[in-house]
């Protein structure tokens, strides 16, 4: 069974070849690169001459980047998105920052402009996908099980299910976690980090990699700012130490304050994407 979504596929069958189109080719589950080939029989104890075994020792230079496989699949995702004019955005944040609420509000404001599909990443439950679907938009829930982040292969698998159309938005809501998602490129065009004012203005410095790897910072729940000790200019200054060109939006998904600037930014991306697609 697929460990990514439970759909009956396997989530790691494209290990050997990042070009292999994602998860649903299950015939070659035990391909050559499978790291534990069960058919392999060997018994160290019955080796007749351990000395000769030592003499046979040799070194294989591998020089393989461990994250290279993820990056290879991410590059394929990026090519697909670019070719089909899909604006893929990776939303990262801690749990409870308001990612899903922001997406629901964004979808309501944007769905007349372009088709939208959503990939929801969570360790368990499909609550978030259900919330997205209630806006009338197709959503695919990836349950990562033990994993604390989405990787490029999971996204590739979800795309097969969702089939995002030419010129559409693909919103990818990562697992709520400010640490691990920073290390995994999904092939997105932009990474959006959401920080709510209840979390503290020092978070960019505490969780530097994810802020440094993000193109946009959304400060959410600004309606609560008067009630918490969150210094908005200081937070933005910290984020810009790590990523001088980070784009910042201050908004409240609940009240709708500031949402229009964020929506305008998204609309501008559709226009930019359409130009090369029509050539």
């Amino acid at each position: 069974m697929c460990t990514t979504c439970g759909c009956g596929g396997s989530s790691d069958d494209d290990r050997a070849d990042p070009g292999h189109d994602a998860h649903h080719a299950h015939g070659e589950e035990h391909d050559a690169s499978h790291p534990h080939d069960h058919g392999h029989t060997h018994d160290h104890a019955t080796d007749p001459d351990p000395e000769s075994a030592a003499a046979r020792r040799r070194l294989i230079q591998v020089e393989q980047d461990v994250l290279g496989r993820n990056n290879g699949i991410a590059a394929l995702n990026r090519q697909d998105f670019s070719r089909r004019g899909i604006v893929a955005l990776n939303f990262v944040s801690s749990p409870g920052s308001g990612k899903t609420t922001l997406l629901c509000k964004t979808i309501e404001a944007l769905k007349a402009d372009a088709p939208i599909t959503v990939i929801e990443g969570d360790q368990r439950t499909s609550y978030d996908a259900e919330r997205i679907r209630s806006t009338g938009i197709p959503a695919f829930q990836v349950n990562t099980g033990k994993a604390c982040h989405l990787d490029a292969a999971m996204v590739r698998h979800a795309i097969d299910h969702l089939g995002p159309t030419q010129g559409s938005f693909l919103f990818i809501e990562n697992v709520g976690n400010l640490v691990c998602p920073a290390e995994f490129d999904l092939g997105e065009q932009a990474r959006i980090v959401i920080l709510s004012v209840t979390e503290g203005d020092d978070k960019p410095l505490k969780y530097a990699p994810i802020f440094a790897a993000s193109d946009v910072l959304i400060l959410n729940k600004i309606d609560l700012a008067p009630y918490v000790d969150f210094d908005i200019p200081r937070c933005i200054a910290y984020a810009r130490e790590l990523r001088p060109d980070i784009e910042v939006f201050k908004l409240s998904s609940r009240t709708g304050a500031g949402l229009e600037n964020w929506i305008a930014w998204l609309r501008a991306r559709v226009v930019r994407q359409e130009a090369p697609a029509t050539r």
Partner: protein, 98 residues
């Protein structure tokens, strides 16, 4: 794949380069790897982790400087205009087989 192409029976040492500025903890990686390789042809193999220190090119000092953590300021001038050069590696360097 590399291993099977070499026609070897057993892996005795796994050489891995791990950068000090990655999100990976060398001890945690070694711990997990030892458990993972137990049912494989690499059971009992020595896990040879080589740590790569962090370094970056400081544009203000116009030279390479050592970095203890990602996004730290330049230890010489305190500036942040630094391009990472080393320490982001997580690389399976080599396998010793027999």
């Amino acid at each position: 794949m590399v291993f099977e192409n070499a026609g070897a029976a057993r892996v005795v040492r796994i050489g891995i380069d791990i950068g000090d500025l990655t999100g990976f903890e060398p001890d945690a990686l070694a711990f997990c790897l030892e458990a993972l390789i137990d049912p494989t042809t690499a059971a009992g193999a020595t896990i040879d982790l080589v740590r790569i220190p962090g370094s970056g090119f400081c544009h203000t000092c116009t030279r390479e400087v050592a970095l203890a953590r990602r996004y730290d300021a330049c230890p010489e001038c305190g500036g942040l205009d630094i391009d990472l050069r080393g320490g982001r590696e997580l690389r399976l360097r080599e396998l010793e087989v027999e």
